[in-house]
Each structure stands twice: as structure tokens, then as C-alpha cells.
Amino acid sequence: SSWWSHVEMGPPDPILGVTEAYRRDTNSKKMNLGVGAYRDDNGKPYVLNCVRKAEAMIASKKMDKEYLPIVGLADFTRASAELALGENSEAFKSGRYVTVQGISGTGSLRIGANFLQRFFKASRDVYLPKPSWGNHTPIFRDAGMQLQAYRYYDPKTCSLDFSGAMEDISKIPEKSIILLHACAHNPTGVDPRQEQWKELAAMVKKRNLLVYFDMAYQGFASGDINRDAWAVRHFIEQGINIVLSQSFAKNMGLYGERAGAFTVICSDAEEAKRVESQLKILIRPMYSNPPMNGARIASMILNTPELRKEWLIEVKSMADRIISMRTQLVSNLKKEGSSHNWQHITDQIGMFCFTGLKPEQVERLIKEFSIYMTKDGRISVAGVTSSSVGYLAHAIHQVTK
């Protein structure tokens, strides 16, 4: 007999299941709107030009493959911090921060979660917005934390339930941990306006909460890296020493290269050094040291002026294409004769859109039209093209009229 007879079959990943079903479908009009990766207007994966150039530059340097330090490539971590905080940030210039390279967003979140479990003794509770990225909950749970929630998305209006969020946050016990999506909230695409961010900052400060920002879409949301980092920077300027997870999967298209970073804003540079030493002790028994390739590419781009300029243009063009698909989807729905209010599609921002479709309607879209999305009605706008947006609008109208 086997040691593993009692091991249960794990549940299929909900998002992967969408892609698998899409692959099996033979309908020529099929659309995969579950994918959390950018596609160009031909529906193809897009390798950024600045990435190709960076790769060529790296290849020509003929570097060795020696281990990176546990905390990762220094040029990369410094540039990541500067990108998030802004070059004029007092926290950045004074060095009162530590940034370690992480395995994209997930790995960075996990390092942070483990760090909090070990060193943030005031609370085990992490408050997530309702809803949040599906993987947040198991990440924090596996790190030994407990999950709570605050109101965020209002399904009646398909937008932010700001008063509900403020009310819930006002009741969060002091010194709890609150997770905020810096921009392009996943899965809803609903972000607070700057005025609302200001109130949120004041509230979390009042409640003395530890703020954990997850920034996976800087530049990718509005097309402007500074605008997308506004909330992160505002909180820090208000004296809130946040912790932050960054991903370069989407904004540099480096998905499989796993480039990310975890940052702790500290009281001073000396504290940062102590925090760094503990992060190293956490990372070493996980994977020893991080992978070089993605960090090297990202670093080359961020630190080479011409490449950085080109990157900013490319990231804006990705964001713009998505915004344009949103606009076209709404206008096509109007043309179909839909009487519903679809404004939330253009109000929402980033890769994803919470359409407001109910599970039965989603089921019909899949079965009758071969349009694949997750059951919560979330679509990846990145998967829409100018040649398919008409079909999508038609199908949505059919199931909602």
C-alpha cells in the first residue's frame, strides 16, 4: 500500500479550468476572457520591444551565472523601490526602506506574509477587500495568518462601496493588517479616486493599522506609472510605514520570468538593515536565492534611459488598448440595443472587468457562445480584440436582454 492512499485529489484551479475548457472548444468564434495575461489586438501574447532589446544587451555582456545574493539583484531592487516610491521620495532618498527580490507578485506577497507572521506579533488578522484576488487568502493562510474582510465592491452599482469600506475599516481592531490593491483592483477593476484614497489613509492611520499594498499593475492601469503609484506614495507621505509587494509580470510582460519585489518602509536605515537580515533568514529555506533572468531584464530596462523611455511608451500603449476595448464594448452594447447601464465597464480600470453578469448568464455565454470567463462574471479585457468585441457585445446582450 501507499503512504499516499489518504491524500485527496486537490480541487482544479478555477482559472486554469477556464483555459482548459476553452482549449477543448472547437467553435471558431471562441474567446478566452479568463486569461490574466495581456494579449495584443490579434489576441497573441506580446513580448515588449524594450524586453527584447534588454535581452540582447544582456546576451552581449556574456555574464556568468553565479548565485545572486539572497535578497536578489541590487540594481533591480533599488530600481523597483524607486519606481514604486518615486525618485523624490524622502523614504527612498533616506534609505529607510528595504527591498528584496521576490518570485513575482506571489513570491513577494508570501515573503511579506511570512515576515508578518514571524515579526508582527500584534495581530494574526489580515483584512482583505471583498472580493480580492483568489490567491491572497491561501497565501496568507499558508503563512499562518487569519483572514478577515472589509466591504469593497458594491454589486448593485458595480463600483466602489466607499461608505461600506470606510465603515468596516473604522471598526477594524487596532494594529490589524489591512491589504489594499494599489491600482487596478483584481478582480473588480474598481479603484478608489484620489479623494477617497486620502480618506482611507486618514482612517487606517487613525485605526493604527499595518498597511500591506499589493501593486501588480503599476503603469498598466492608467498608462502612467506615477498616477498608478499615487496611493502608495500618498500613504507613505502621510507617515504610514507600509509594506509593499510589486510584480513585473504584467507591466513588463515578464510573466514566466518571475520578477517581483517586497518592500518594507522602516523608521530609519538602521532598522531597514535589521529587517533585511530577518528577510534573508526567511528566504534562504524557501529557495535560497532568486532567479536572475527576469530581474536582470527589468533592471536593464529601468536603469537604461532609452529603454526606460521605450518601456513607458509600451506600457501606456497596452493600457490604452485595454481602455479602448472597454469603450468599444460599451458602444457596441448600445448598438445592440441594450438598455442596461454599462458605464461600469469604462469606469473600471486595469486588466479585469466585473461585468455584473450572474452565474447563469456566464453559463450561457460559455455554452451558447463559447465565451469563457470565470463564474463571478469577471472578464479579462486584455483578451478582447477589435475583431471580437462586436461578437462579445452581441453575446452579452443576448443573455441580458
Partner: protein
């Protein structure tokens, strides 16, 4: 890390070639790999460990999880064992680590949640060899179902491996006592120069019907240190068990790194699946292994020629990157302070640091240390 005779890092020629191929392939992009990794990598990596004619592979009861280096593979395996081995979430299952071992073994299993990490006898300092009796004794008295971390070859840090006969004795005890073998294989090919020879122990255990884990690293044998290429090979009783195990490992991977890095796995998969590139790789590996073997024999012959007190056959009998010289902490201090030769307080030296240019100096320094300091 490996060094050339000029004391430089070495990017394997086959790696350079394959990287160029990858760079020139415009059909490739940077999309996510599946959670468990690149399928061609996982299958080829497990095949390398278990052998082309492995019955376990033929019977479809082998799985692989692409991981962040050997460390990552160890961690995924440890996290899985803590959740699912010997009951559900049994953090009390004893985990045995050799004395000495790679220091990170302890931390990996501790951070995975195991509360009872013990040591098993391994290095006999007096005889400068394997303490087989001590090891077998520890296994006899270990609680049933205990987990044992075994170094597949080139034991780190002693360089001392059990002989095939000794491995047979170890396997017999482990089978009788229902102990779980978790192999750490970081040096396959790099130790003896032969992939098959270095995998003998793992394959023997498989042939004896064990269910086991093998954490593989391609850092040293492919020189891909910073690409973090590893594979956790899972051998189970049958395909169904392996499938369920993999499905649960997927959940663990998803909250640790979501999916693994692409570059290193592509290089290894491309190399291993092409007969020509595979042969080239084996040649590169043999180059590294041979240089280390040469340094061992050259060092030993110099020490014997100098008449350095003690016996020095252990230098050539030990295998792999490291050697436990037998120098005591005071002698080590002399080496570091007076001769500027850096080695661990344990007397461990990295053979890769030896070159034809420094052999004489190192031998003379060891001679001085041993004769001047007791």
C-alpha cells in the same frame, strides 16, 4: 560553485549554445509556465535521476515538480510531507538530518513546520570516513515512519558517500523500520563524472520498491546557479497515488511562487531532449568532474610527497566539490590567518578553489599547519 583552472566561473559551452538557440527562437515568449513547471523539463529531469529504463517511469508512477533550485524542491517536499505524511498535518514526525549536513536542511524542514528535527550519525572524525554503524544504529532506533534526508552522492560537506554495499544495508533497515527516504541530489554527474553512477543509490531504492522523494538541483551540473533550476521527483506506488500527490503539491506551489521561472528549465529541457546536446552536456559535466578529481589526486600526492603527518587517502576517496580535510579549528585558523587560504572551521575545503597554480602553495600550507599546530 565550480571554478576553472584559472579560478573563474564557467558557463558550460552547451548552455551558451542552447541560450543562443532560445534567443533566436521567435516563437518563444515569456508567458507563465504551468504551476508544476515546464512538462518537458519535469519529465526529462526525472528521467535523468531514475534512468531511461526505470521501471517506475515505465509504470507511470513518477511525477516531477519544477522548483526553484534544489532548495525549492526540498521545501515543496517538506511542506507536502508536513501536511500529508504519517497522518494529516503531523508536525511531530521526526526528521533526521546527517551530522554534519548542509545547514539549510534544518531550516527548510523547520520552516515547513516540523517540530522534531534530529541528527543521525554520519561522519567518523577519528577514521575520517562514514560512521556506518552509528548511522544504522540511529535508523534502528528511529521511530517508525521517521523521515531521513539522504545525500544521493557527494555528501555535503564531508564528500564521504556510502558504498553500494553500505547503501544496501541502509535500504534494508529503512524498509524494515518503515522510514521515508528523502534524497537530496545536488551533484548528479558532477561527483564521479557519470550520471548513472551518481544516481545509483536513488535507483537502488526505487528498485527495492520504496516510495520516495528526490530533490534535484541543476545548479552545479548545468552551472545554472542563478537561474534556480530544480525538480522534485516523486516516486509512488502507482499512477493514481502520484496524481493525487502532485495535485496537492500544486496547491503548495501556488501559494509559494505560483509557477516557476522559465529560462533555466528551457535550457535544461532543450539540452536533455536532444541526443546531440545531451552528449555535449555529459562531456561538459565530465570536464568539471575530471578537473576536481585531478585536483584531489594532485593534492594528495603532494601531501604524501611532503611527508605531511597523517594519512591523506581520504582526499581522493572523498567525492564531489567538498573535502573534509581533517584539519582542526586551530590549524584552520593558521591557514586563514597566516597563509590566506580560506576554508571552513570544520576543515572543509572547496576543491573547486584549487588550481594547478596554487596546488603547491596549498599543499605546503597544509603541511605547515599540520606540523606547526597540534
Amino acid at each position: 560553485a565550480y571554478r576553472t583552472d584559472e579560478g573563474q566561473p564557467w558557463v558550460l559551452p552547451v548552455v551558451k549554445k542552447v541560450e543562443q538557440m532560445i534567443a533566436n527562437d521567435n516563437s518563444l515568449n515569456h508567458e507563465y509556465l504551468p504551476i508544476l513547471g515546464l512538462p518537458e523539463f519535469r519529465a526529462n529531469a526525472s528521467r535523468i535521476a531514475l534512468g531511461d529504463d526505470s521501471p517506475a517511469i515505465k509504470e507511470n508512477r513518477v511525477g516531477g515538480v519544477q522548483s526553484l533550485g534544489g532548495t525549492g524542491a526540498l521545501r515543496i517536499g517538506a511542506e507536502f510531507l508536513r501536511r500529508w505524511y504519517n497522518g494529516n498535518n503531523n508536525t511531530a514526525t521526526p526528521v533526521y538530518v546527517s551530522t554534519p549536513s548542509w545547514e539549510n536542511h534544518n531550516s527548510v524542514f523547520m520552516d515547513a513546520g516540523f517540530k522534531d528535527i534530529r541528527t543521525y550519525h554520519y561522519w567518523d572524525a577519528a577514521r575520517r570516513g562514514l560512521d556506518l554503524q552509528g548511522l544504522l544504529n540511529d535508523m534502528e532506533h528511529a521511530p517508525e515512519f521517521s523521515i531521513f534526508i539522504l545525500h544521493a552522492c557527494a555528501h555535503n560537506p564531508t564528500g564521504t558517500d556510502p558504498t553500494p554495499e553500505q547503501w544496501k544495508q541502509i535500504a534494508a533497515v529503512m524498509k524494515r523500520r518503515c522510514l521515508f527516504p528523502f534524497f537530496d541530489s545536488a551533484y548528479q554527474g558532477f561527483a564521479s563524472g557519470s550520471l548513472d553512477k551518481d544516481a545509483w543509490a536513488v535507483r537502488y531504492f526505487v528498485s527495492e520498491g520504496f516510495e520516495l522523494f528526490c530533490a534535484q538541483s541543476f545548479s552545479k551540473n548545468f552551472g545554472l546557479y542563478n537561474e534556480r533550476v530544480g525538480n522534485l521527483t516523486v516516486v509512488g506506488k502507482d499512477a493514481d497515488n502520484v496524481q493525487r500527490v502532485l495535485s496537492q503539491m500544486e496547491k503548495i506551489v501556488r501559494t509559494t511562487w505560483s509557477n516557476p521561472p522559465s529560462q533555466g528549465a528551457r535550457i535544461v529541457a532543450t539540452t536533455l531532449s536532444s541526443p546531440q546536446l545531451f552528449d555535449e552536456w555529459k562531456g561538459n559535466v565530465k570536464t568539471m568532474a575530471d578537473r576536481v578529481l585531478l585536483m584531489r589526486s594532485e593534492l594528495r600526492s603532494r601531501l604524501e610527497a611532503l611527508g605531511t603527518p597523517g594519512t591523506w587517502n581520504h582526499i581522493t576517496e572523498q567525492i564531489g566539490m567538498f573535502s573534509f580535510t581533517g584539519l582542526n579549528p586551530k590549524q584552520v585558523e593558521y591557514m586563514v590567518k597566516e597563509k590566506h587560504i580560506y576554508l571552513m572551521a570544520s576543515g572543509r575545503i572547496n576543491m573547486c578553489g584549487l588550481t594547478t597554480k596554487n596546488l603547491d602553495y596549498v599543499a605546503k600550507s597544509i603541511h605547515e599547519a599540520v606540523t606547526k599546530i597540534q
